[in-house]
């Protein structure tokens, strides 16, 4: 046999057609948390930047949250469920490790028999999933991809641990990725630091999220801005040309430190953490959906996405706002 195997034609580029988000109805304020753990509104706002967060109900799990956000993105994209042939779901807070949740989200949305799988890159999960979707479309492995970040962090929280229960929250965000003549999703810059695996961890199946806050803060405020700047360089965009910077909503002070170091003077910086808390792999599409809805960022403008967290794993890419 000569010439190798047949492969699909490659697409010139991939782009995001639409984003979607879902925020659970229940709002938990800092004052409410202060009733059960030794903390207060001023402390939480000044250290983490959170005013309130959403917590999912008992009847809402990874599938329900993800299907809400995915359905919204799908509706915004103008595509039919039958147009989607790959579903990638990023989560690190699932109820159980098996089965994966992407097939169920697809089923809920009436997407018939797509390729479907979950990924776990924690708070960087959405950026990993988006990069994988973009690569699949460009390689011809999929035509249209639904990318979902869905997190129910509340089910892995020790509600007596004031260092974590004030930070993490629930929610889901999604994007529909399709082929395009001009690339609207830039090259991903991704990496990891497995030697720091224990800095953010659920150590056993019967334990909760634990975090070494100071070590994570140091890492995030020093290691991540260079990754974000490199993603701009690789996409051929100067940081000062960015319309938006959408870091994982980990901590407002980390977000501000990253933005300050990027020197992107005209960029709107996502601060959805104030209302939504840290929703891990869902935080970037949640924040961006709201920015688009509010008209903070014009269609076609370049936005930098950067996720970072447990692993430790990180990823960044520039996209054009749909």
């Amino acid at each position: 046999m000569t010439g190798g195997l047949r492969i699909p034609d490659a697409a010139a580029g991939a782009r995001v057609l639409a984003f979607g988000d879902y925020r659970p109805a229940r709002i938990v304020t800092n004052d409410e948390l202060a009733e059960t753990v030794d903390t207060n509104d001023e402390w939480i706002r000044s250290r983490v930047g959170i005013a309130e967060r959403r917590i999912a109900g008992d009847d809402e799990g990874i599938v329900e949250l993800g299907a809400h956000a995915g359905g919204k993105a799908l509706a915004g994209s103008g595509l039919a469920p039958s147009d989607i042939d790959l579903v990638i779901l990023a989560t690190c807070s699932a109820e159980s490790p098996m089965p994966g949740y992407a097939p169920q989200v697809a089923h809920r949305l009436g997407i018939d028999a797509p390729g479907a799988f979950d990924i776990n890159a924690a708070c960087a999960g959405f950026c990993y999933a988006l990069a994988t979707a973009s690569a699949a479309v460009r390689a011809g492995s999929a035509r249209n991809v639904l990318v979902v970040g869905s997190e129910k962090m509340s089910q892995w929280l020790d509600w007596t641990d004031r260092s974590t229960c004030i930070i993490f929250a629930d929610g889901a965000g999604a994007a529909v990725v399709a082929a395009s003549d001009s690339p609207g999703i830039g090259p991903v810059v991704w990496g990891s630091a497995g030697d720091k695996y224990d800095k953010i961890i659920i150590p056993t199946r019967h334990s909760f999220i634990q975090q070494e806050g100071q070590a994570v803060f140091r890492w995030a405020t020093t290691a991540i801005a260079p990754v974000a700047v490199e993603a701009c360089e690789r996409a051929g965009i100067r940081p000062e040309d960015l319309a938006a910077i959408v870091p994982h909503q980990a901590n407002l002070r980390i977000i501000e430190a990253i933005a300050r170091k990027m020197k992107a003077k005209d960029a709107v910086v996502a601060d959805d953490i104030v209302q939504s808390g840290n929703t891990s792999g869902a935080s970037i599409p949640l924040a961006l959906s709201r920015m688009i809805e509010r008209g903070d960022v014009p269609s076609g403008a370049p936005a930098l996405l950067v996720g970072f967290g447990a692993g430790l794993s990180y990823a960044a890419q520039v996209i054009q706002i749909p």
Binding site: S46, R47, Q214, T221, R253
Partner: protein, 88 residues
């Protein structure tokens, strides 16, 4: 051998870093001041200050050490001692 910063130079540099990061006027940053009690600087800001100090003076202040540095003078001394060790 590279130049070693004097105590005064380290103090001035540190005051500038603190002004940049938490907006406390340089004149407030005197050796005897306690970061938490006198300057109202919290542990996360201390991490940012430590990282900036590392960039400026080339001396790493790990989290374990940072915990024990309570006053401005503690940091100045730490930088001075380790700078001398690093560059001699």
């Amino acid at each position: 051998m590279a130049d070693i910063a004097t105590e005064q130079q380290i103090l001035d540099g540190l005051a500038e870093i603190i002004d940049d990061i938490v907006g406390i006027d340089k004149s407030e940053v005197t050796p005897e001041k306690n970061f938490i009690d006198d300057l109202d600087i919290d542990s996360l800001s201390m991490v940012e200050i430590a990282v900036a100090a590392q960039d400026q003076f080339g001396v790493e202040i790990p989290d374990d050490e940072l915990r024990n540095l309570k006053t401005v003078k503690d940091v100045v001394n730490f930088v001075q001692n380790h700078e001398a060790a690093a560059k001699s």
